[in-house]
């Protein structure tokens, strides 16, 4: 099958001249609509494999099925993809790692660990635009034809089929990795970055947010290093991507180009769309036990929204669950601060009571537990908490 030419620049020259914008590497014109490849071709084989993965994904208990959030993310992806929108199907997956992927058959996966990290619609569109860029340039098919990637493809396929007890991330994750990072070379990543920023700007999103995505991830990994945590398995699953420093710089420079009308960040809309799921996503985030990264994330979210009691509660949870020297005090401070904020979950009282009990502040612990039971009388642990209050349990 012949590769479609990369129509970089050519179709946009006239427009560029008319608007006075210099034609450059960001004047991207997408290829014509794709059709299903011949099943006997290598690409056809890859599609068939991805179709099977997609069938499995559709049945997964880890799929986020909320129609409102699905529509919200799908609409953003659709705007970015333009005329290729009908080829795409977006799946939201509850997995607390930063990842999005797009398979050559049009299956896009967006993980909750990405959603919880993005500050606004523009940031999400930067990542989705990047993945759509890989798709439009059919990078995974290029990769499949590369001998080195073929061996890694076979290896990943082997892992996906062979691990009955579940690997670190499970089969769907393997398919996700296969569909994205691992098969791509660095030049393909750079190309996808350029296309991504062009697509987001064309959809009206502020391109400066693209560089911030990578800057934020760098801050998180720095947070992990500073906390002395193992950073050998990073939060980000784009294994072969260019160094995050490079991406941040390149994307920040690209944002300085003149992008007429590309000013939208969509911060309020993004928060509203995520709100019904945020407790669960933040809960999963702390459960990863990558506290250095999570604390940087929480501080960033609090900086943007200083009265966010949900995030403040989970900041306390991170300290409590880390349990290092001095963390008890930090947890208590975080919980007490959360009490003064908005939208703070009732569980803050339970956590406060648990920590206070251990520090011997029994009277205040009792008050915290009582408050928790007032707010959540039917909590799954209500009987247990009552037993703490009556002393019937050691």
């Amino acid at each position: 099958m012949q590769r479609r030419p990369f129509l970089l620049g050519c179709g946009c020259l006239a427009l560029a001249a008319a608007t006075g914008v210099r034609a450059d590497e960001y004047d991207y014109q997408a290829p014509p609509r794709f059709s299903r490849p011949d099943p006997s071709s290598d690409e056809g084989g890859l599609w068939a494999y991805m179709d099977r993965q997609e069938q499995q994904l559709k049945r997964s208990s880890f799929l986020i099925r909320d129609p409102a959030l699905n529509k919200y993310v799908s609409d953003i992806a659709c705007r970015l993809a333009g005329e290729h929108c009908p080829e795409m199907r977006v799946y939201l997956v509850r997995t607390p790692y930063f990842n999005a992927s797009m398979a050559p058959n049009g299956m896009m996966q967006v993980w909750s660990g990405l959603l919880v990290r993005m500050q606004n619609e523009a940031q999400l569109s930067a990542v989705l635009g990047h993945e759509i860029g890989h798709y439009l340039q059919r990078h995974s098919v290029e990769g499949l034809r590369d001998a080195k990637s073929r061996s890694s493809f076979a290896q990943i396929l082997g892992i996906a089929l062979g691990v009955a007890g579940g690997g670190n991330l499970g089969m769907l994750a393997q398919a996700g990795i296969l569909a994205s990072g691992m098969a791509y070379g660095r030049d393909q990543e750079r190309e996808a970055d350029r296309i991504g920023i062009a697509l987001m700007a064309r959809s009206g999103y502020a391109p400066a947010e693209a560089g911030r995505v990578w800057g934020q991830l760098l801050e998180e990994s720095d947070g992990a290093k500073a906390a002395g945590e193992d950073v050998s398995t990073p939060i980000i699953l784009f294994a072969s991507h260019p160094p995050q420093e490079e991406r941040r710089e390149v994307l920040a420079a690209a944002a300085k180009r003149d992008w007429p009308g590309a000013t939208r960040t969509g911060t309020d809309e993004y928060r509203a769309a995520l709100a019904p799921h945020r407790m669960g996503f933040l809960y999963d985030e702390v459960r990863r036990r990558r506290f250095g990264e999570s604390l940087v994330l929480f501080d960033r979210l609090l900086q943007a929204s200083p009265r966010d009691g949900q995030v403040q509660y989970f900041k306390g949870e991170a300290y409590r669950q880390r349990g290092r020297e001095g963390d008890t005090k930090l947890a208590l401070e975080a919980y007490r601060a959360a009490l003064e904020m908005d939208n703070t979950p009732p569980e803050v009282h339970r956590s406060l009571g648990t920590v206070l009990r251990q520090t011997g502040e029994d009277a205040e612990a009792t008050r915290a537990f009582q408050r928790y039971l007032e707010l959540k009388p039917d909590a799954e642990d209500a009987e247990l908490i009552r037993s703490y209050l009556t002393g019937s349990q050691s």
């Binding site: 880890f62 007890g165 499970g170 994750a173």
Partner: protein, 198 residues
């Protein structure tokens, strides 16, 4: 469907490349790790863990099963001491350490951390004071959505902290059929637990 336990174990071993085997646990008095004695009315299969990873209870002292460990698993954690982890961390993960002052709520958190290492989802349904054999302790009910195959498991755990050490027995099985099938055997078994001074 009832899969022969040896078949399920063999299939698992073939996939995991392990050398595990099943050993029959005869009805009657049984002692786990020389520290926990139990009385079982039924025969069980004891899964010899070796060092390999078992998602439902990595690093348990013993795991028993009727129909094969992916279908029902009774995991024993015996005498976990201050500073030790409940179960074993899988590659790239860390587990929190047990403290003898932990509340039952925090102990359930330890269990949750252990079973969600592989990305499985945990949901607590109920935790309440309870008994562990003759000891006052706690009991919790939960579900696990297994990451590898999205199967919904139901589980019940009972435990106690005695002389600073944690004793915990947890039964998990798919919510469809297997959990209800074996629970009537599990309840009296856990009720028979006696902690022997190690």
């Amino acid at each position: 469907m009832r899969l022969a336990p040896w078949l399920a174990a063999a299939a698992l071993c073939a996939l995991a490349g392990c050398a595990a085997q099943m050993v029959k646990v005869e009805p009657g008095q049984v002692t786990v790790k020389e520290a926990l004695s139990l009385n079982t009315a039924h025969a069980w299969n004891r899964f010899e863990l070796g060092q390999q990873y078992l998602s439902v209870a990595p690093g348990a002292a013993e795991v028993w099963t009727q129909d094969g460990i992916t279908l029902d698993a009774l995991a024993f954690f015996v005498g976990v001491a201050q500073g030790e982890t409940l179960g074993r961390a899988i590659a790239g993960k860390k587990l929190p350490a047990f403290r003898s002052t932990m509340t039952p709520g925090e102990i359930v958190e330890l269990y949750e951390q252990m079973v969600t290492q592989d990305g499985s989802a945990f949901a607590l349904k109920r935790v309440a004071p309870g008994r562990f054999g003759e000891q006052p302790g706690f009991r919790f009910e939960h579900t696990i959505t297994r990451k590898s195959d999205s199967v919904l498991l139901k589980g019940v755990g009972q435990g106690a902290v005695v002389k600073g050490k944690l004793y915990l027995v947890v039964f998990t099985a798919p919510s469809i059929y297997y959990y209800d099938r074996h629970l009537p055997q599990v309840e009296p078994l856990i009720a028979s637990a006696r902690i022997r001074a190690p």
